[in-house]
């Protein structure tokens, strides 16, 4: 082995998000006695629910070494359409179904661009991001819409003492986790992300796998949009903005690799999303300067990507081809 100490170091990197999470809880807990309360932590979880769901879909895409930048825009289109319909007197369930439909449709467009037109995922989904943002603004006429109370009621409803958004997010995460770990589809995604060429040679239906992750990501964006809407109660022109970066950051913080083939929804991505939101929650509680927020976000993204890069370099070094056996 060229680097005898790489394995322990690798384990240290895997441990980094947990350590970071503990540090965040400790620091904010010491700075304010309002942070470490059950009510506030529950609040953090509710705030994290939409990000966690979108990041779960993102994890599927990242596992195949792709990326989906359009999730925030998909949320916006769905919310804009649902808002218009709700204000027009349509029933709530129909509005929610439309949001899911928009998610599936957006995902299908991405899937088409990536698998049929063979566009690079980054560019394809950047295009759908702009298309989505434009469509959303056209639908909403760039005006904020205050939605009927039924949406907010959805967000504050509780079942068995647990807020409804947590039930929904929990269900999505559970299904995603089971799909990734317990279905052929999930395991084949890991293979595809590790080595697309070998996956094709092994007889996997790579096009189908690749298309499904974008559709799933779109669907998760739709669900995430519902969760976000149920907490905000209104659709502004900024609805869903930068969700793609929160989702990517959450996934990468949780140990999902941008290079594909590595990552977990639970605890990984979920932990990343909760970590991200607890930092923002903490900053609000300790009344930090709002101008600091973007700096802190960028520092977290930087950290997450740095860890990912280091991890991949180490793995790469350990995997390098040898001319002669030891």
């Amino acid at each position: 082995m060229s680097a005898p100490n790489s394995k322990p170091f690798l384990r240290l990197l895997d441990f980094a998000p947990v350590a970071l999470f503990a540090a965040v809880l400790l620091v904010f807990g010491l700075m304010s006695d309002k942070f470490l309360t059950v009510a506030n932590l529950l609040q953090v979880l509710v705030q994290a629910s939409s990000t966690a769901v979108v990041a779960t879909g993102m994890t599927f895409v990242l596992l195949t070494a792709g990326v989906d930048l359009s999730v925030g825009a998909i949320m916006f289109v769905g919310a804009g359409l649902a808002g218009k319909m709700a204000l027009g007197g349509q029933p709530l369930p129909l509005c929610l179904l439309v949001m899911l439909g928009v998610g599936l449709l957006g995902g299908a467009v991405n899937a088409l661009l990536v698998t049929r037109l063979k566009l690079v995922a980054f560019i394809a989904t950047l295009a759908t991001l702009y298309i989505g943002r434009g469509t959303g603004r056209w639908i909403t006429q760039t005006r904020a819409m205050n939605l009927p109370d039924s949406f907010l009621a959805l967000g504050s409803a509780k079942w068995l003492g647990v807020p409804l958004p947590l039930w929904i997010a929990g269900a999505v995460i559970l299904v995603a986790q089971l799909v990734l770990t317990h279905t052929p589809f999930g395991r084949q995604l890991y293979a595809l992300g590790n080595n697309a060429e070998a996956a094709k040679k092994a007889g996997l239906r790579t096009t189908r796998l690749l298309a499904s992750v974008y559709i799933l990501s779109g669907l998760c964006a739709g669900i995430g949009g519902i969760l976000a809407l149920s907490q905000l109660g209104s659709v502004s022109p900024k609805f869903g903005e930068l969700y793609e970066f929160d989702a990517i950051t959450a996934a990468v913080l949780g140990g999902t690799s941008l290079f594909g083939g590595r990552g977990k929804v639970f605890p990984g991505t979920v932990l990343g999303a909760v970590l991200l939101k607890s930092i923002f929650n903490g900053l609000v509680i300790v009344q930090a300067d709002p101008y600091l927020y973007p700096l802190i976000t960028s520092a977290i993204i930087f950290l997450a990507v740095l860890i990912d890069g280091l991890r991949c370099r180490l793995i790469d070094r350990m995997e390098r081809r040898k001319v002669f056996g030891s």
Partner: protein
């Protein structure tokens, strides 16, 4: 063949070889790489396929695996005509590959790798994987190949030898009737090899046929029942393995071919490098390049040699012997833990940029990926390395007229096709002209040491000859030239001296009066394993 009754058909299948090749032909870009090859593989036989690099072995196996289709001839499998369109067709008739680069997914467990396309499902219909069935079936397969790891072990934790066994287990899991092993022993220790051979004997008992491709002739003679020797896309020998000896195999592989021409060397080859060094008296006695005890674990071991001014030094060896890896280390692309390299007596270190400044040049093995900017113009490619020298003070603006004249000088020097314009994208050129652009790029930097990795791969005979001439001209002007090539004939034709590498070590050195194809090939092959 007509088989009216079912029992007759059964018998026909049993008698017939599992796989047969009949007069198979295949060309690439107008060059015939298989010229009517025929052979058969019977049930429970291990057939050794041997031949030099480029003899057509891999192409033949790609045809069998459905990766390529033959131009002429017929393949048969299990007694029926067989025309695979893709790897799945090959799998369907029970043909499995154990590749040189293993096609396992290191981020998945052994069990998942074994059943990736065929997971056992709960109740047969539900989408969920039946973990217990998966583990039980994987354990059974691992037991068959003698692996003691748990089926949930991640493949990335296994050493190369055991990954190979996982590949074989995968083949068994797919009910393979023919397993193709392509250079399975290159990264194995001798103990792992013994384990592999023991397993192969067991499989043979069970009636599984194997095609064994290897350069380790000692192993081939030991493990195989039948042999097929290929040379330049033709079957030049074959039969039962016991009729062959090591020496007979080598001479069959080498053959005699006088169809390639090499330019006459102007400087006297007999006296070789010493003479050339004396012809440049203003230089110190230090060699152009001195390599001492260069080692990098798993890559190269204790490499030492000198390259004199005016010398053309060849490095021979099989694919994967560590030749390109050595070149990459010399050029500063890859690290080495010990040893040193001196250029004209002064220690050479740093990355490629600093080494280029010292006068090192490196024509890589893969010109499309590493040697050229395919979409950029001929002029831009030629000027690339020396671009910073064309900056004009004080603002370092590029001196376009200077670049233009330098480019046209180089085009002349490498005799690039006059039809091509300076602004033409390199992508549109033939292989030979592309390689001339790479050479021109380096020659413009006036290198003291030029490393050429497979300089004539995929190039037509005429352009090859011109590249050989360029190599000689460069050496005559006092540069040291290191040529890596898989064609022994080529090295004999153009070099003053040849080093042979095997498994990361130098295993032979030949001066030009000792050049002998068989001896060189002998040093490159491991004749037998302890």
């Amino acid at each position: 063949m007509t088989t009216p009754s079912a029992s007759n058909e059964q018998r026909a299948i049993n008698d017939e070889p599992i796989v047969s090749f009949a007069a198979i032909e295949r060309s690439f870009f107008g060059v015939k790489v298989l010229k009517g090859v025929s052979f058969e593989v019977g049930a429970g036989r291990v057939v050794g396929l041997v031949g030099e690099n480029g003899a057509g072995k891999s192409t033949l196996m790609n045809l069998l695996g459905g990766v390529l289709q033959p131009d002429a001839g017929q393949l048969r499998a299990n007694g029926r005509p067989y025309a695979p369109k893709n790897p799945n067709d090959a799998r369907a008739v029970g043909i499995a590959f154990v590749h040189q680069e293993l096609n396992l997914f290191p981020n998945l467990s052994i069990a998942e790798n074994l059943f990736l396309t065929d997971f056992p499902l709960i109740g047969g219909g539900a989408p969920w994987i039946d973990r217990s069935a998966l583990l039980a079936r994987a354990t059974a397969l691992l037991h068959q190949v003698g692996l003691v790891h748990g089926p949930e072990t991640l493949v990335e934790r296994l050493p190369p030898g055991e990954r190979q066994l996982v590949e074989i287990a995968k083949a068994l899991g797919a009910d393979a009737r023919v397993i193709i092993l392509d250079e399975p022993t290159t990264s194995l220790s001798s103990r792992e090899c013994e384990r592999l051979f023991a397993l192969m004997r067991q499989l043979r008992e069970r009636g599984i046929a194997m095609i064994y491709i290897s350069h380790a002739l000692g192993d081939v003679l030991r493990i195989c029942d039948d042999l097929v020797v290929l040379r330049d896309g033709e079957r030049v020998g074959g039969g039962e393995a016991k009729e062959f000896t090591h020496d007979r195999l080598v001479s069959l592989m080498v053959g005699r071919q006088l169809n390639q021409l090499y330019p006459e060397r102007r400087a006297s080859r007999q006296v070789g490098s010493d003479q050339a060094a004396k012809q440049a008296p203003e230089k110190s006695a230090a060699p152009r390049l001195a390599v001492r005890s260069l080692s990098q674990p798993g890559i190269v071991r204790d490499i030492s040699f000198d390259l004199a001014a005016g010398e053309v030094l060849g490095i021979s060896g099989l694919l994967g012997a560590g030749r390109s890896e050595l070149a990459r280390i010399l050029f500063g692309l890859d690290p080495c833990v010990s040893g040193e390299v001196r250029l004209e007596g002064r220690r050479l270190d740093g990355g490629p940029r600093r080494r280029i400044e010292r006068g090192l040049a490196f024509l890589t093995e893969d010109r499309r990926q590493e040697g050229l900017c395919m979409e950029a113009s001929i002029a831009d490619n030629i000027a690339l390395v020396t671009l910073s020298a064309h900056g004009r003070t004080p603002a370092r603006w590029l001196d376009f007229t200077g670049i233009k004249s330098a480019v046209s000088r180089m085009r002349e020097a490498v005799r690039l096709s006059p039809k091509a314009t300076d602004a033409q994208a390199v992508r549109t050129l033939s292989g030979g002209n592309q390689q001339k652009v790479v050479l021109g790029k380096w020659l413009l930097a006036e290198p003291k040491v030029l490393i050429l990795d497979e300089p004539t791969r995929g190039i037509d005979v005429g352009a090859k000859f011109e590249i050989y001439q360029l190599i000689h001209q460069l050496a005559d002007r006092g540069a040291g030239v290191l040529v890596i090539s898989s064609e022994i004939e080529e090295l004999i034709g153009i070099c003053d001296r040849i080093l042979v590498m095997r498994q990361g070590e130098i295993t032979g050195e030949f001066r030009c009066d000792e050049f002998d194809r068989e001896k060189i090939l002998g040093a490159a092959l491991h004749s037998s394993r302890a």
